[in-house]
């Protein structure tokens, strides 16, 4: 990864604004700044807008975009660090002014696509919080990638790890005399 190539200034130009505020023009979003920090590493900073929810998209081919595993909210300085070993790496901010979202907790635990999984659960485990079927494998809530018999909706309700075989029912020991 070469930090000074055009590709790293490109995302700053290509920031896509997803302005979903109902009624009126959205408050303009300040540009994201990219700053090299170390080898293959750079800082991503932007000035937030009050009431605005921020996601970050990344891509290595400008076709397939993935959500970064965090959500940001509100005004003030947003500061992130990114390291990637990909030869090509692109970032863009993905944000919206959502009615009823007034805090970081609201943004994290809301369910924008209505699939039963919170936004923070979806971005943490690599799903799209705006699509109830992020993959070709079926509805996000019904997936069971750790194959422990509990789908994501159940794992979320039980507070178990959706990426580990930790189904409490499987851990019961039955002794027969």
């Amino acid at each position: 990864m070469h930090l000074f190539d055009l590709k790293y200034s490109l995302p700053a130009v290509l920031i896509l604004a997803l302005a979903l505020k109902s009624g009126g023009d959205p408050v303009p979003q300040a540009q994201v700044t990219f700053q090299p920090a170390a080898q293959d590493t750079f800082y991503v900073d932007w000035e937030g807008v009050a009431g605005r929810t921020y996601f970050m998209h990344f891509s290595t081919n400008l076709v397939d975009w993935h959500f970064a595993p965090f959500i940001d909210f509100g005004d003030g300085a947003h500061q992130r660090g990114v390291h990637s070993d990909s030869d090509r790496f692109f970032l863009r901010l993905y944000y919206g002014d959502f009615p009823g979202i007034n805090s970081l907790d609201d943004a994290m635990y809301a369910d924008f696509d209505g699939d039963g999984l919170s936004n923070i659960f979806e971005v943490t485990y690599g799903y799209d919080p705006f699509e109830s079927e992020s993959t070709l494998d079926g509805p996000d809530a019904e997936l069971d990638p750790d194959d422990d018999g509990l789908d994501h909706a159940t794992e979320l309700a039980l507070g178990t790890d959706p990426m580990a075989k930790d189904n409490p029912m499987l851990q019961l020991e039955v002794t027969v005399d």
Binding site: Q39, Y43, P69, R80, D85, S86
Partner: protein, 305 residues
Amino acid sequence: MKLRLWILLVLLTCLCKQGLAQEVRTAPASTSGRLPALMAPVDPADRVALPSIAKPDFRIKGTQVKLIDVVEAPPMVGLPPVEGTITLKVHAVADPGLPEPARVVTPRPVQPDFSDNPEFMAQLAQLEKEQLQDRFAFVSATVHDRSRTRLTCYPSGEGHTPVTAWSNIDFNHFRACRSFEVTAAEGATRRYYLMLGIGNEHSEQRRAWLATRNIAWEPPEIPTLPEGAPAFMVVTENPDPASVQLLEDLHALYRDEGSRMAANVAAFEKAHEDRKAHFIANPPKPKDITVHFWKRNTTGKETTR
């Protein structure tokens, strides 16, 4: 009798005009062309210094793993795309505590006032005079069977009055030529910046391709040009004089630097073929990707988790 004389006169006039337009020309022997000296390599000391941390030490807080089918562009034109399934690992990590990069503010240089320095002003005037003599040359070249080239020059880059000529040079040899200079007998130097588009036409390939579509191939009418010394023939009537001079200067350059230009292109083409053969023998596979994200917070206010 008078009528015959008139007919003869008209015929002679036509032949003369034809001769003027389609005269085989070579670059004047009194001119000399040369390629620019190689540019000095970039001094590594001029590059922006990054903290000398090869890879930050990450403390992983969470990981997501995806298998992704990817199709990437081939490393070279003509090779198959790079396809495969890669593993994408995305780690949420604690702030590795890298040093904040220094924000360098470069002071705006003060514009010195040399207006009262006659020596400097004279140098400046000379520089302006020299730069005004720089020319941009816009040329389209279609090389036929790597032996004859149809050239179209566009004076000042405009398409109104293009000048067309045939040359006995393989203009593929100009591939790496971006600028050149020609010094005329009187000592005047013309410096060109060359905007050259090169295409290749292969007769047999064209003939075979058209034959598959039942179309007869009509080869272009290429005028007879001598072998050996670089020569060209202008086929446009009343050509723009600057374009003719450009054609002469291109041929002067090739006369004086052609062997070096041909050797450079041959070396480039060999390296290209070697590289292609390497990729065919060792097809590249898409690489797995690992990404780390972390939160930095130098303000103390929580806007993120």
